[in-house]
């Protein structure tokens, strides 16, 4: 086991991938000289040089598309879109090219591309810099969506993402970069399953990414009140791991979904829909969700906090559900 930050874990995963496979390279705005906006790629330029740590112009559509082409051309590109907020400029290439390519070509071409983006709110960077669109992206067939919420996943998800023959989007929550923890020396994680991060029996709290620590904190608070909450980390937002979700929900018979996306059309809604479709008769209470309020994320700290899911809101939702 080693102790490191989420940021350091991501950097190690990049370093390892670049060392192991000459086809791998990293491309994006300010990944090189600057060291990465969130310092994730710091030091990589020195080790791997400007061919493989490639600073790009401010051209999200262009360099994401170039990543697709490079993947088709036999490389294993990792494209960093600085934040999910700017990925909207590249959405056409992600949806209309990367996601459709294999099917549209009748199975002739796969696009082994990894796109990393920072996501989420909580740092007072206001409406245009605080989106949480990973759940929204999960609507699109043909791509896979990963949301590491632990140091281990930050350290280990990149390798299987690069082995995947199809486009994989990896979302790093900005408030997690400084989180620290233990990582096993050998990576043994998949990119297909959800994981129970805390066992419980009274209610399942289903979440992912930046909301995972909040859910764990809520579970701790609830434990003090004698409520045993199970915390399920989705990890992979597309395809969803229905089996693990249903197993937990069937056990606890109640579930709250926590998701930093805006409530309407959130991934939380999809999880609820699936539970209704697959485990309706196992439910002892209506499902509930704790999402972001339907408002552009405001700058002022107190307003931003009120807009986002918080441990207290999760605790309150569980209490209401249990009539406690």
């Amino acid at each position: 086991m080693s102790h490191m930050s989420y940021r350091e874990a991501l950097r190690r995963s990049l370093q390892e991938a670049l060392r192991q496979d000459p086809r791998v390279f990293l491309m994006g705005e300010d990944v090189g000289r600057y060291g990465g906006t969130y310092a994730v790629s710091k030091g990589l330029l020195e080790e791997f040089g400007p061919e493989r740590i490639r600073d790009t112009p401010l051209s999200e559509l262009g360099f994401v598309g170039a990543g697709i082409g490079a993947a088709l051309g036999g490389m294993r590109p990792i494209v960093e879109v600085m934040t999910v907020n700017f990925s909207l400029l590249a959405l056409d290439q992600i949806v209309n090219t990367a996601a459709l390519y294999r099917h549209m070509s009748g199975g002739q071409f796969s696009v082994p591309l990894v796109i990393r983006m920072a996501t989420g709110a909580g740092r007072q960077v206001a409406a245009q810099h605080s989106h949480s669109f990973e759940g929204w992206y999960a609507h699109i067939p043909g791509i896979k969506i990963l949301a590491p919420g632990t140091i281990e996943d930050a350290r280990c998800m990149l390798a299987p993402a690069l082995r995947d023959p199809d486009p994989v989007l990896l979302f790093e929550h900005t408030v997690l970069y400084n989180m620290e923890g233990e990582v096993p020396d050998e990576c043994r994680v998949d990119i297909s399953s959800a994981r129970v991060r805390r066992e419980g029996s009274d209610v399942t709290i289903i979440t992912y990414g930046g909301s995972l620590p909040k859910a764990l904190e809520a579970a701790e608070t609830l434990a003090a009140e004698g409520i045993r909450a199970e915390v399920l980390d989705l990890r992979v937002l597309r395809p969803l791991d229905d089996a693990t979700i249903m197993a937990s929900v069937r056990k606890c018979r109640r579930a709250v979904v926590v998701d930093e996306g805006w409530r309407s059309g959130s991934l939380a809604a999809e999880v609820m829909a699936r539970i209704v479709e697959q485990a309706f008769y196992d439910l002892d209470a209506p499902l509930a969700r704790v999402c972001s309020e339907e408002v552009p994320i405001p700058y002022a700290r107190h307003l931003e906090e009120a807009a986002l899911p918080q441990p207290e809101k999760i605790v309150a939702a569980v209490r209401t559900m249990l009539g406690a």
Partner: protein, 342 residues
């Protein structure tokens, strides 16, 4: 807003000067233009008969561009094209039957019926589509070239796109990347003077498209796209320079589409006289006239080539007719690649 009255865009004078190819290669070029022409005429007919559906965009009038260009590239080069790509697919070596079967939506199609006319793909031919988002292929082409540059393959990527694509931001981001990194990309702008129903000068403030590429320091040339010789020579020279590592090149092929934009177009936006004038400069017509004048072709040979093309079309139709429908049970196939890591 400027609107075209009568003939807004005059056709260039017919090409002159000797054809610098021997009889055999000259006839190959002519034959391939005829093959595209006959394939597309048949496609239009089959659209009328509801055998082909969806969007169908014909290349008729523009055949000199794909023909001249593709004969100047190697089979290892990459091709990225638009929805108006029957000709590019055909000359890239995709069997006509598989193109036709694709337009029928049959399993034997070159995209197994998933794509139709706008999405012809062929991995063996290094044909990377058939992209129906205007300018959508440009960034992909840059990426293919980036891979080749990093891997040292010596390949060139030829990216075809229309004049309309130049107005899209994607064009600019792509040309900048290719120039910045000195990538082996040949930008082939098929300037047929209209983006759907909007004339070039109604949507570009400065209609000289080479100026845009030049503003990135990219070598940019305008070429008579109605002349298969001019196209071939320009692409040959460009490919040599690009393959020598001298960075991307932008070629603007001035051409014209004789037919409607797609099957749904009433052509309200251009004058009949303009179309007629350009038709007199048709690439098959002028090229065969030159070859005849030079004694490299006679009428019987022309008819034989044409007959051959028509036979190929007939066989392609038979192949498509005989094709099968992909089982509905395979609908979800190929959304993801089988055998990815769990």
């Amino acid at each position: 807003m400027r609107q075209s009255k009568g003939i807004a865009h005059h056709a260039p004078p017919p090409p002159t000067g000797p054809v610098p190819y021997d009889q055999e290669f000259s006839q190959v070029l002519l034959r391939d233009m005829l093959r595209i022409r006959r394939l597309e005429e048949k496609s239009a007919e089959l659209y009328g008969a509801a055998k082909i559906r969806g969007f169908l965009h014909l290349y008729i009038g523009e055949e000199a561009v794909a023909t001249g260009a593709l004969h100047a590239l190697t089979p290892e080069d990459n091709i990225v094209a638009t929805y108006r790509e029957h000709g590019h697919a055909l000359l890239r070596g995709v069997p006509m039957g598989r193109i036709m079967a694709e337009m029928y939506g049959k399993k034997e199609g070159c995209a197994r019926g998933r794509g139709g006319s706008m999405h012809l793909f062929d991995a063996d031919a290094r044909l990377f589509g058939g992209n129906a988002i205007v300018a959508g292929g440009l960034p992909v082409a840059v990426g293919l070239a980036l891979a080749d540059s990093m891997r040292g393959t010596g390949r060139v990527t030829a990216c075809f796109f229309g004049d309309g694509a130049v107005a899209e931001g994607a064009f600019h981001e792509s040309v900048n990347l290719a120039a910045l990194w000195q990538l082996p990309v040949l930008f082939c702008c098929e300037n047929n003077l209209y983006a759907m129903g909007t004339a070039l000068e109604c949507y570009e403030s400065q209609p000289d498209l080479t100026a845009k590429a030049a503003s990135y320091g990219v070598k940019a040339l305008a070429v008579d796209g109605m002349d298969v010789v001019a196209v071939h020579e320009a692409v040959k020279a460009a490919r040599t320079r690009i393959a020598a590592g001298q960075g991307p090149i932008f070629l603007e092929f001035k051409t014209y589409r004789f037919r409607a934009h797609s099957m749904f177009d009433a052509e309200l936006y251009r004058h009949r006289d303009e179309v007629e004038e350009w038709k007199t400069r048709g690439p098959i017509h002028t090229f065969s006239a030159r070859l005849k004048a030079e004694g490299k072709l006679d009428e019987a040979q022309f008819l034989a080539l044409d007959r051959e093309a028509e036979q190929e079309v007939e066989q392609a139709v038979e192949f498509a007719e005989a094709g099968e429908w992909e089982p509905v049970g395979d609908l979800l196939k190929d959304v993801y690649t089988p055998g990815g890591p769990a």
